[in-house]
């Protein structure tokens, strides 16, 4: 106020500092709805992933059936918001306009569960300091999940790329074991006619050559990795999704990769992701195709 008074005329129709404040009170933000929870009488708190990071915002009255915002704040929506800054609590969503609704993730149980798993990994691996690359990865993955004929393959691709962004890039190209104090580093070139299995060692951050796998087997933590699974991990990590989409994803390898990645991710998170349990409980159901 004092600075304002010295810099501009106190009698000006619209003082410069008021202009500044009114502009800053409303802002526009685009993001993906990751999570929501009920709050108060009819409100929801929305967790939004934006290219600049993760934010929590308050959506007032959206549980009322007549709310005009509600349909634009559903899970996995990509939505543009007009937000009012609040001093003491969450900033307030005053308008919402979804650009992508992702209906395919709302009404399909398997795809819906995978989409929730996508969110779970974002929430667990990132404290909120997101970047544009994470936003793009999540947006692409949700889009692929909605359309791809094999959503499980999309998820395996997503895991590889999320781990890279989270700083836990698995090494699938060279043996990560140490022998007699020296790194092995043998290049891994799995072939279908390989007789001996490779290994995976989450605590060392990658795969083991057959020799090192045999040598470490007694230590307990290393798991077996088939040549087919290893070459899939290499391809999923190296390629964009379009390139791997054309390859056949054999059921047995799919099951192995589910298991290997669950172990790998649990190790680095220091806890097991929980969302995919929803699919497991459902496996007995006739006609369902789930390998989780």
């Amino acid at each position: 106020m004092i600075r304002g008074a010295t810099r501009g005329s106190p009698y000006a129709a619209e003082p410069w500092y008021n202009l500044g404040v009114s502009k800053a009170r409303l802002y526009r933000v685009e993001g993906i709805v990751l999570r929501r929870r009920d709050h108060g009488e009819a409100d929801r708190v929305i967790t939004l992933l934006t290219p600049e990071g993760r934010v929590e915002l308050l959506a007032r009255g959206v549980r009322k059936i007549r709310s005009r915002k509600a349909g634009h704040l559903e899970l996995f929506c990509r939505t543009t918001l007009l937000v009012r800054r609040a001093k003491s609590s969450w900033d307030n969503i005053s308008q919402a306009e979804a650009t992508t609704v992702r209906a395919g993730l709302q009404e399909d149980f398997t795809r819906g569960t995978y989409a929730r798993y996508v969110v779970e990994l974002v929430l667990r691996f990132f404290a909120g300091d997101a970047d544009a690359a994470l936003f793009t990865l999540v947006d692409t993955t949700l889009e692929l999940l909605e359309e791809a004929d094999d959503p499980q393959r999309v998820i395996r691709w997503y895991e590889q790329h999320l781990l890279i962004l989270a700083g836990f890039r698995p090494e699938w190209g060279a043996c990560v074991a140490e022998r007699e104090g020296k790194p092995c580093g043998a290049p891994l070139r799995p072939r279908p006619d390989d007789r001996r299995p490779y290994g995976v060692a989450p605590e060392r951050g990658g795969a083991l050559c057959p020799d090192c796998f045999v040598a470490r087997q007694g230590e307990g933590t290393a798991g077996q990795l088939s040549p087919s699974a290893l070459s899939w991990l290499q391809a999923l990590q190296r390629q964009d999704y379009e390139s791997v989409a054309g390859l056949t994803f054999p059921a047995q390898t799919a099951a192995e990769l589910t298991h290997v990645m669950a172990r790998y991710i649990s190790y680095h998170l220091e806890r097991r992701p929980v969302v995919l349990r929803a699919l497991r409980g459902n496996r007995q159901i006739r006609g369902m195709r789930n390998e989780e």
Binding site: G71, L73, Q106, V274, R277
Partner: protein
């Protein structure tokens, strides 16, 4: 609120009240001091009502609605169609549907929606009990009336995969309902239209 000037009994009431949904510490203090202010009779009536709530209410052993008698009046009513089960997330949604006076079947209350991100799985809801009702036979239609929200749609999608083998007919409350809201807030006219416009799954 840990103020030496406030007696522990009041602090405890304030803390307990603020555990209720939609009540922050500020509202809780206001309510607590309102109850204290002379009208002790209101506090006693409230205490009595809460006591009765805990003592006299239970879940209906058939539909899991909240009731004073088991089975609940709806499940015990011979005039209702017991072969038509409407599945709702919460008792409040059931109340909204009853208010339309257009629904003559029975209910099943799940007590929540499937939300694996929040750690809520099918075994945390009354799904097994619903499946048992269908297995017992004589159910000709299951009307899924979960909320028209992401969570409600996801729960319905799960129920479809799980109940398909048992239910003769699975329907979903009409899409005339705007997306994103909770059924408990829907007015009778909107719900009546949604009931009439229910869709085959």
């Amino acid at each position: 609120m840990s103020n030496a000037a406030i007696p522990p009994a009041v602090t405890q009431l304030i803390e307990t009240l603020s555990e209720l949904p939609g009540i922050g510490p500020k509202t809780a203090s206001r309510l607590a001091f309102y109850l204290l202010r002379g009208k002790s009779e209101l506090a006693l009536r409230l205490a009595d009502a809460l006591h009765k709530l805990v003592e006299n209410t239970r879940f209906c052993s058939i539909c899991y609605n909240i009731t004073e008698q088991d089975p609940c009046p709806i499940c015990a009513d011979p005039a209702r169609d017991h072969g038509l089960i409407c599945v709702v997330e919460e008792p409040l949604a059931l109340l909204s549907l009853e208010r339309t006076e257009q629904y003559h079947g029975v209910y099943h209350v799940l007590h929540g929606s499937l939300s694996p991100l929040e750690g809520i799985f099918a075994e945390d809801l009354r799904v097994k009990e619903l499946e048992a009702r269908l297995r017992a036979g004589d159910v000709h239609e299951v009307l899924l009336a979960t909320n028209p929200t992401s969570e409600g749609d996801y729960t319905a999608a799960y129920l479809i995969t799980r109940l398909k083998p048992f239910a003769a007919r699975l329907t979903r409350l009409g899409r005339g309902l705007p997306v994103g809201g909770d059924l408990e807030y829907a007015d009778a006219a909107t719900l009546t239209r949604a009931l009439e416009a229910r869709q085959e799954l």
